[in-house]
């Protein structure tokens, strides 16, 4: 499948998982490297938010919290309208590697099908076309 559903990156950092965990899951940590401002309610279902000096903001929902091991959240797919319910899932996995940490980030869900609204619209279109195209042909013939 050519549709890119999943992005994965792994980096090696010199600090131990506890330090990396703090950088990923606290407002202070997130605002130091990711957003310019951040707020986070660190529990599954908790909300988090990052804001940039440009004015851009992103709302996140915390999904997985396993101290110093796994941090997962969902956020909106960049570029889609505000009211679009689709979200991608981002999961950070921290593994001790020597005195440092092997940090993996996976973002998935780009290829998910839109909700029912789209299916309905599509079905409606496919049913509606035959008649409408017939009218178009008649109009062009008459013109």
């Amino acid at each position: 499948m050519a549709f890119p559903d999943r992005i994965e990156r792994t980096v090696q950092v010199a600090q131990p998982p506890q330090k990396v965990w703090a950088a990923l899951t606290t407002a202070e940590g997130l605002s130091a490297w990711f957003g310019d401002e951040a707020a986070i309610d660190l529990r599954p279902g908790g909300s988090a938010r990052m804001q940039w000096a440009s004015g851009a903001t992103v709302q996140m929902r915390v999904e997985r919290v396993e101290e110093a091991s796994v941090f997962g959240f969902t956020w909106q797919i960049y570029g889609l309208p505000e009211d679009d319910p689709r979200r991608t899932y981002v999961e950070f996995t921290l593994e001790p590697a020597g005195t440092g940490t092997r940090l993996t980030v996976v973002e998935s869900g780009f290829a998910q099908l839109p909700p029912d609204a789209y299916r309905k619209a599509y079905d409606m279109n496919t049913q509606g076309w035959a008649g409408e195209l017939g009218e178009l042909a008649a109009y062009l013939d008459a013109a």
Binding site: P4, G29, L80, L113, Y122, D123, N125, L133, L136
Partner: protein, 111 residues
């Protein structure tokens, strides 16, 4: 059965690859629903060519035909397939390398 995301995205990108179809879609996006005649008045494309493109775009679900004034068919841009194509672009546009580099820098500074 609805098409999968890959098929929808392909249809959008195929449509956008042609300058005339791109102009038609851009006009429908900026000026709203229009008939083939309206579009021919706004674009340097013959009405016959526009009609042909509109049939292709309608078959792909990128525009829908609806009754317009004086029994003319009016075309409306469909946003749903565009949103599927945006998902594809979102994956290409998502940059994790910069934030991860910033994270490594931040941690390297004793954070």
């Amino acid at each position: 059965m609805p098409p999968d995301s890959e098929t929808v995205a392909e249809q959008v990108f195929t449509a956008l690859a042609d300058p005339s179809r791109r102009a038609i879609l851009a006009t429908l996006a900026s000026a709203g629903p229009a008939t083939a005649t309206d579009l021919a008045g706004r674009l340097p494309i013959t009405r016959q060519a526009i009609a042909k493109h509109l049939v292709l775009l309608a078959e792909a679900g990128l525009v829908t035909a609806e009754p317009g004034e004086r029994r003319r068919v009016r075309y409306r841009l469909q946003s749903a397939p565009m949103q599927v194509a945006q998902q594809f672009l979102a994956a290409l546009a998502r940059d994790w390398d910069s934030p991860l580099g910033a994270l490594a820098d931040h941690l390297g500074q004793g954070g």
